[in-house]
C-alpha cells in the first residue's frame, strides 16, 4: 500500500520547501501583526498614520537640488530630491575615494620610504578618526576660512570659491557676482564639498588597505615575470598585477561603497539636504515618524541591494574573463 505522507517525508526537497513556506508565512504574519498593532496604537494615541501625506504639499524649501523643487510640490517629490542628493554626493565620493584609494594603496607598497610612510600615515590617521568629526572639521574649516561671497577667491577664470561654495562654468554659463554671492553657472555648496571631502577622504583610507591587500595577494613571480618582459613597474602594475588583484578587491570594495553610501546619512550634521535630512524635516512637519523612517529604511535597503547586484554582476564578468 502506498503511503503518500511517508513518501512526502522522504522527499527531502519538497519537505524543505514546505518548511520554508511555513517560516515565510509566519514571518509575514508577524510583520502584519506588528503593522496592525502599531496602526491601532497610533490611532488610539491620536497620532496620524498612513502614507497619504506623501501627496500633500511639502511646504518647505530645499537649499540645493538636482531637480527643480518648489515648496508647493508634494512630499514624495521632496523625498525624491533627497534620494537624488544622497546619490549625487555618494557617487561623487565613491569615484573620488576610489581614485585616491588606488593611489594610496599603490603608494603604500613603493620602495620610497618617505612616500610610503606618508601614505601609511594618511591611512592610519583617516581610518581612526570618527567620520562625524572629520565632516565637522572639513565643514567648519570651509565655512570659517574661506572668504565671504563678495570677496570670493577666483583661482581660475569663471571659478569662484567662497563661503557660499564652489561656482564653476556649466551649461554654457559663466558665474558672476549677484545680489547675495555668486550667481549663474554650476555651483556646489560648502555642505556638499565638506561631505564629499569627508566621505572620500575616509573611504579612501579603507580602500587603500583593500588595494594594498589585493596587490600583495598577487604572487611575487607575476611581478618578476612582468619585469622580465621589460615592463616598467607602473606598466607591470597596470597590465599584470591590477587585473588579477581587482578580482580579490571587488567584494570588500563593494562593502566600502555601501558603507560610504550609508555614511552619507551623516549629512544632517553639516546641513546638506540628503535623504535623511529631508525625511527628518518631513517627520517633524507631519509627525509621522513610523512612515518616514520606514521610507528611509526602504530606500537605503534598496540602494544597498542595487549596489550589491551591480558589483555582483561586475564580479562575475571579471571572473569569467579571468579564465
Amino acid at each position: 500500500m502506498r503511503r503518500p505522507f511517508a513518501e512526502f517525508r522522504r522527499h527531502a526537497s519538497s519537505r524543505a520547501f514546505c518548511y520554508q513556506l511555513l517560516v515565510a508565512g509566519l514571518a509575514l504574519a508577524l510583520v502584519w501583526l506588528l503593522v496592525e498593532q502599531t496602526g491601532a496604537e497610533l490611532r488610539t494615541r491620536g497620532i496620524r498614520s498612513g502614507f497619504a501625506f506623501l501627496f500633500e504639499p511639502a511646504g518647505f524649501s530645499i537649499g540645493e537640488s538636482v531637480l527643480d523643487f518648489d515648496a508647493a510640490q508634494p512630499y514624495w517629490r521632496a523625498f525624491l530630491v533627497g534620494v537624488l542628493n544622497t546619490l549625487r554626493v555618494a557617487l561623487a565620493a565613491i569615484v573620488l575615494a576610489t581614485v585616491l584609494g588606488l593611489c594610496l594603496g599603490a603608494c603604500s607598497l613603493t620602495r620610497n620610504v618617505l612616500l610610503r610612510g606618508l601614505c601609511r600615515a594618511y591611512v592610519e590617521v583617516f581610518r581612526n578618526i570618527p567620520l562625524l568629526l572629520q565632516l565637522l572639521t572639513w565643514y567648519f574649516l570651509l565655512a570659517e576660512k574661506l572668504p565671504s561671497a563678495d570677496a570670493a577667491l577666483n583661482p581660475l577664470p569663471g571659478v569662484f570659491l567662497s563661503k557660499s561654495g564652489l561656482a564653476f562654468p556649466w551649461g554654457g554659463e559663466v558665474p558672476a557676482a549677484g545680489d547675495f554671492g555668486i550667481a549663474g553657472g554650476g555651483a556646489v555648496t560648502p555642505e556638499f564639498l565638506a561631505l564629499l571631502l569627508g566621505l572620500s577622504g575616509y573611504g579612501a583610507a579603507y580602500l587603500a588597505e583593500i588595494v594594498r591587500a589585493g596587490i600583495l595577494s598577487v604572487p611575487r613571480g607575476q611581478v618578476d615575470a612582468a619585469a622580465a618582459l621589460g615592463m616598467t613597474p607602473l606598466q607591470g602594475l597596470r597590465a599584470v598585477v591590477l587585473p588579477q588583484a581587482l578580482r580579490l578587491m571587488i567584494p570588500p570594495a563593494t562593502n566600502q561603497f555601501l558603507n560610504l553610501t550609508k555614511n552619507s546619512s551623516l549629512a544632517v550634521a553639516v546641513g546638506y539636504p540628503d535623504l535623511v535630512s529631508i525625511a527628518n524635516t518631513s517627520l517633524n512637519q507631519t509627525g509621522q515618524a513610523a512612515e518616514c523612517i520606514s521610507i528611509l529604511m526602504a530606500v537605503y535597503l534598496g540602494l544597498s541591494l542595487l549596489t550589491a547586484a551591480a558589483t555582483g554582476w561586475y564580479n562575475r564578468r571579471q571572473l569569467r574573463r579571468g579564465h
Binding site: 502599531t38 535630512s277 515618524a289
Partner: protein, 342 residues
C-alpha cells in the same frame, strides 16, 4: 536625526508595536509620584528659556514651569529630571513617554495639537519669528533677503514659515538646514549664511549668549509669524493635562492677584476669596485636580508668579532685557489671561 533621535524613534516604534492597549493607561500623576520626579523635556541650551550653567543647573522660563509642576505635585521644586532635546527629538520623546511634560519653546500649531499625539496646555510666551543679520549686511529689512542663504534648525515651525513668507513675496530663499542647534549657530557665526532665523526671543538670547560679539549682529524689524510657546503633554491623560494647564494659569492668576514668591505665605490670611482659593486657605482648589489644597502656594513659593518668572529669566532681571510686550497681563495691555481659578 542623530543617535539619540534614532534611539528615541525606535523606542517609540517598539513601544507602539509591542504594548497592548491597557499597558500604558497608567496615569502620569501616579507614575510621577511613584518615581518621585517629573521628567521634563527642555532645549539643549537656550538661555532665558532653558539654559544650563557650568555646574549643570538649569534655569529659564521653561524650566521654571517644570519646577513649579514638581513643587505642586511632589512638594519639591528640585524633583525634576531634565532631558535636553533638540528640535527634532522633542515630540518623539514626549510620545514615547520619556518625558512627562515638554516645556521647550515649542509653538502651538494645529498640526502638532491634532496629529502628533500631544496636547498643548497653555501659552507661556507669545513670540514671533524674526531674522538676525550681521551688522554690515546689505539687508535692513527681511524683504531684502530674497535669494539669500538662511541658516535654520530643522524640526521647527521656522523652517516652514520661512518658505511661506518668501513665497508670498514671490521670492525664493535657500535654507541651510542643520539638525543640531549648535551647528546651525556655528555656521551662521562663521559667516556661512546671510541671516539666521528663529523666534525673536531666541534671537535675542542667541545674540546675547552665543554671538562672538553681540554688537556685531542686528535683529531685523519684521516679525513674520505667530509663535505661541507653551508646555505640551501626551494625549490620553486628561488629569495630567489639567494639572499642567492649571499650574500655568495659577502662576498667571497669582500675578494678577499680586501674590509673589515673597508675600505668598502672608497673603494666605488675605480677605480676598480669590487669593484664599489660590493659596489653599479658602476653598480647596487642589482636590479637583487630584492634588492637595496648597499645590499652587508651593509652586508660587518655588518659582514666583508669572511676572516674576518673566523678569528673572527674560526681562529686567536678566541680561536679555526683553520687554513684557504681548506677554504683559491682559489688565496691562498684554495677552496673558488666565481663566478663573475657582
Amino acid at each position: 536625526m542623530n543617535i539619540a533621535g534614532w534611539k528615541c524613534c525606535s523606542a517609540l516604534i517598539a513601544v507602539l508595536a509591542l504594548t497592548p492597549l491597557a499597558a500604558h493607561a497608567g496615569k502620569t500623576l501616579d507614575l510621577v509620584r511613584q518615581q518621585g520626579r517629573v521628567a521634563c523635556g527642555v532645549s539643549t541650551g537656550l538661555a532665558g528659556f532653558s539654559g544650563v550653567d557650568s555646574k549643570g543647573n538649569w534655569s529659564g522660563l521653561d524650566t521654571d514651569i517644570c519646577r513649579g509642576i514638581a513643587a505642586a505635585v511632589l512638594g519639591d521644586p528640585g524633583k525634576v529630571k531634565w532631558l535636553p532635546l533638540n528640535s527634532q527629538q522633542r515630540f518623539t520623546a514626549l510620545q514615547a513617554g520619556e518625558v512627562d511634560v515638554l516645556s521647550r519653546n515649542t509653538t502651538w500649531t494645529l498640526t502638532r495639537d491634532a496629529s502628533m499625539g500631544l496636547h498643548f496646555t497653555a501659552i507661556t510666551y507669545y513670540d514671533g519669528q524674526g531674522f538676525m543679520v550681521p551688522k554690515q549686511s546689505k539687508a535692513s529689512s527681511v524683504k531684502q533677503l530674497r535669494n539669500a542663504e538662511i541658516c535654520v534648525q530643522s524640526g521647527t515651525t521656522t523652517e516652514k514659515n520661512l518658505n511661506d513668507y518668501f513665497r508670498a513675496q514671490g521670492a525664493k530663499v535657500r535654507p541651510v538646514v542643520f539638525e543640531s542647534f549648535e551647528a546651525s549657530l556655528k555656521a551662521f557665526f562663521s559667516g556661512r549664511c546671510q541671516a539666521y532665523t528663529t523666534d525673536v526671543s531666541s534671537l535675542v538670547s542667541i545674540r546675547d549668549k552665543e554671538a562672538p560679539k553681540p554688537g556685531d549682529y542686528v535683529i531685523l524689524p519684521e516679525v513674520i509669524s505667530k509663535e505661541p510657546l507653551g508646555p505640551a503633554v501626551r494625549r490620553g491623560d486628561d488629569e495630567w493635562f489639567a494639572i499642567v494647564k492649571w499650574l500655568v494659569f495659577a502662576l498667571i492668576e497669582a500675578e494678577e492677584l499680586g501674590i509673589t514668591q515673597a508675600n505668598a505665605d502672608s497673603l494666605r490670611s488675605s480677605p480676598n476669596p480669590a487669593v484664599q482659593r489660590l493659596l489653599g486657605s479658602g476653598d480647596d482648589s487642589g482636590r479637583l485636580l487630584g492634588l492637595d489644597r496648597e499645590w499652587a502656594l508651593r509652586a508660587i513659593k518655588a518659582v514666583g508668579n508669572y511676572g516674576e518668572i518673566f523678569e528673572r529669566n527674560l526681562g529686567s532681571g536678566s541680561s536679555l532685557k526683553l520687554p513684557r510686550g504681548s506677554n504683559a497681563l491682559w489688565t496691562k495691555g498684554g495677552l496673558m489671561y488666565a481663566p478663573p481659578v475657582r
